[in-house]
């Protein structure tokens, strides 16, 4: 699903450049629930931005759904994002003047789907995250947890290959954090590949595979107790 080989990324800072990612190798298969752990400055957000086609890498290869990502222009990137990726951000990034339903329907608009069908599909996904009754509310009428669930519905509505979540619980309290993580796990259990970035151990612990990043390199990559294959392995023992 996602294959990254010897990925490098630097940011120019004045005359110098900051080497953020120093040769990342990562392979994420379909249906995985992966978290990238790391403190701030470890390069985890940069990695997500590159994976999410929001930023370009300098060196190395990146295959998304078997397709080599190279020299993308904005238009192609937009099409690929719309087709393969769903985003969940720390700060929700809902459009403030659109209702929950319209926010969820927006990616379908860019996919060129007709309005009636858009709204119908969007309502289904809002129902899925338990917010059907809030469809006509504006984001500022929703709680943080609700906003993030709307954002998750929006990420899912195009039925992408991967859901990318950048600190999805960063702005939430512990109860809502658990709700959101439960929701992401449910989605994963239905077969969706979920890719979470976090700096919280408790959040990472709820995923099935933890990749630890430090100073732009992967220092560990292990399966958690949640993982089925891990469970199988334990059973076999």
């Amino acid at each position: 699903m996602l294959e990254i080989k010897k990925l490098h990324k630097s940011y120019p800072i004045g005359k110098d450049s900051l080497h953020v990612l120093k040769g990342i190798d990562l392979h994420i298969k379909e249906g995985e629930f992966v978290s990238i752990m790391g403190s701030s400055g470890s390069g985890k957000s940069t990695l997500l931005n590159i994976v999410g086609l929001l930023d370009e890498h300098d060196e190395g290869d990146y295959y998304l759904n078997g397709q080599l990502i190279k020299n993308l222009n904005e238009k192609k990137a937009a099409i690929l994002r719309n087709k393969f990726l769903g985003f969940v951000f720390q700060s929700f990034n809902l459009i403030s003047y659109k209702t929950a339903l319209e926010n969820v329907a927006l990616p379908l608009y860019y996919k060129g789907i007709k309005r009636k069908e858009r709204l119908k599909t969007a309502l289904e996904y809002l129902d899925k995250v338990g917010l059907k009754d809030w469809a006509s509310h504006l984001p500022n009428e929703l709680s943080g947890g609700q906003k993030q669930r709307v954002a998750i519905a929006r990420a899912l509505v195009t039925n992408p290959k991967v859901v990318l979540a950048d600190e999805p619980t960063g702005a939430l309290d512990s109860t809502t954090t658990d709700n959101v993580m439960d929701l992401l796990r449910d989605i994963n259990n239905e077969g969706m590949t979920v890719f979470v970035i976090t700096h919280e151990e408790e959040v990472a612990a709820q995923t099935k595979r933890i990749v630890r990043l430090k100073d732009g390199v992967i220092i560990s990559d292990e399966l958690t107790a949640n993982n089925d294959s891990f469970k199988h392995a334990v059973k076999a023992l």
Binding site: G52, E74, K75, A78, R81, N82, N93, Y97, E102, Y110
Partner: protein
């Protein structure tokens, strides 16, 4: 462009961000309002000037004579100059190709009576061409014609108000009236844009008047309409030449302005033209300045708006919006706002100009029937759409170029 979903997005963005939309719209509406008023007022001024001279033909030229003020060839000052038929013929023969219409005018005060009604009127004895030079409008019957002139016919053409005085609502055409003791047949009734005084006049053949009132060949005035193919400068030169020639003919000092003078509409036209030209230049200058200020205003607001929406664009891009769709959305919104607001300004402006009470006030300041032409409205609309396009396009292109990751970070 006619994507219904796109329009829906735009209407939503406009209606959910009212302050922003109203602000950008207001600048344009106000600029166009000022633009409309300015052009309306200038057209009103133009109308006033045009109408001030509309009474007579605009190629009107009149020969006037009075007493000499300069001695010449042994002749004294204070001598009264008299125009005669020979002067009429002199002009006719000498300047044939420079003259379109020509008439003499003999003026008399007469008493006209019909049955038991009577009053004093001014009589003008003229040639047929007088109709064109005075822009007389024939309501009924006809004007004096060549045959009347030849036969010295006792016919009369009366003004609308003369008819009203003597006949009321009853028909007057073909009836006979008594003009200072002689019976005339009414062959025509006319009206004139020059006002009530002009409609209280009566016309008869110059030959008839010369025979019946004084039995001489005196003329009060000679009026010609110069050939409309002459340029203003040529017409002025022609007037000056004719003035010199006539002074020579009538034995008057070449510089005696009082004895023989020519009132030349070409000179007035030239002056009015000059004033109108200066006025137009000033108004185009101020008007386009106002428009440019409006366009700069909306560009400024659009830059601010796009900065404010950078994050939204980032979100949209992350969700799959292509740069062209962002640019298209912003430009379309900008064009829509400028066009609507511009039309609002235009409508308000036109409405204000059409207010009857305002028109009355303005007329005291030489502004008559101010209005804006269709051409101007169309031009202004095109300018509006273009300016909306430019105002939106430049910042939108810039916004669409921002990487989504940068845009998302914006607050």
């Amino acid at each position: 462009m006619f994507d219904l979903d796109r329009w829906r997005e735009i209407f939503q963005s406009i209606s959910k961000n009212k302050l922003r939309s109203v602000m950008s719209g207001f600048t344009v509406a106000f600029a166009i309002l000022l633009f409309t008023l300015l052009f309306g007022v200038s057209s009103g001024l133009g109308n006033f000037f045009k109408e001030a001279f509309a009474d007579d033909a605009d190629n009107f030229m009149a020969v006037r004579v009075w007493k000499t003020t300069k001695p010449y060839k042994g002749l004294q000052t204070g001598r009264r100059i008299q125009l005669k038929n020979k002067d009429y013929n002199f002009i006719k023969d000498t300047y044939k190709d420079k003259i379109q219409h020509q008439t003499a005018r003999v003026r008399r005060n007469v008493n006209i009576s019909y049955k038991n009604k009577q009053d004093n009127y001014t009589l003008r004895a003229v040639h047929p061409d007088h109709q064109f030079l005075e822009k007389t409008i024939i309501d009924e019957g006809r004007f004096i014609n060549q045959r009347d002139l030849k036969n010295k016919a006792k016919v009369i053409v009366i003004g609308r108000l003369v008819k009203k005085d003597l006949f009321g609502e009853k028909p007057a055409l073909g009836k006979r009236v008594n003009v200072s003791g002689i019976s005339y047949k009414i062959v025509g009734i006319f009206s004139d844009v020059g006002g009530d005084n002009e409609e209280r006049l009566t016309y008869m053949p110059v030959t008839t008047a010369q025979m019946l009132y004084g039995n001489n060949d005196h003329l009060s005035q000679i009026i010609i309409g110069y050939n409309p193919n002459l340029s203003t400068d040529e017409a002025i030169a022609f007037g000056n030449k004719m003035e010199r020639d006539l002074r020579k003919e009538l034995n008057v000092h070449p510089d005696d302005q009082s004895a023989v003078s020519i009132m030349n509409m070409a000179e007035a036209n030239q002056m009015v033209g000059g004033i109108m030209f200066a006025l137009t230049v000033i108004i185009i200058f101020i008007g386009s300045g106002t428009l440019i200020a409006g366009i700069i205003g909306i560009s400024n607001i659009m830059i601010f708006v796009i900065k404010e929406r950078t994050k939204e664009f980032g979100i949209r891009k992350a969700l799959g919006a292509q740069p062209s769709s962002i640019v298209g959305m912003v430009v379309q919104e900008s064009v829509l706002i400028t066009t609507l607001a511009g039309y609002l300004g235009l409508s308000v402006g036109t409405y204000i100009l059409s207010l009857e009470s305002l028109r009355e006030v303005l007329e005291e300041y030489f502004i008559k029937e101010p209005s804006v032409s269709t051409t101007l409205v169309v031009t202004a609309t095109i300018i509006l759409i273009l300016s909306g396009l430019i105002a939106g396009l430049v910042p939108a292109k810039k916004a669409a170029k921002i990487k989504p990751i940068v845009a998302l970070r914006a607050d």
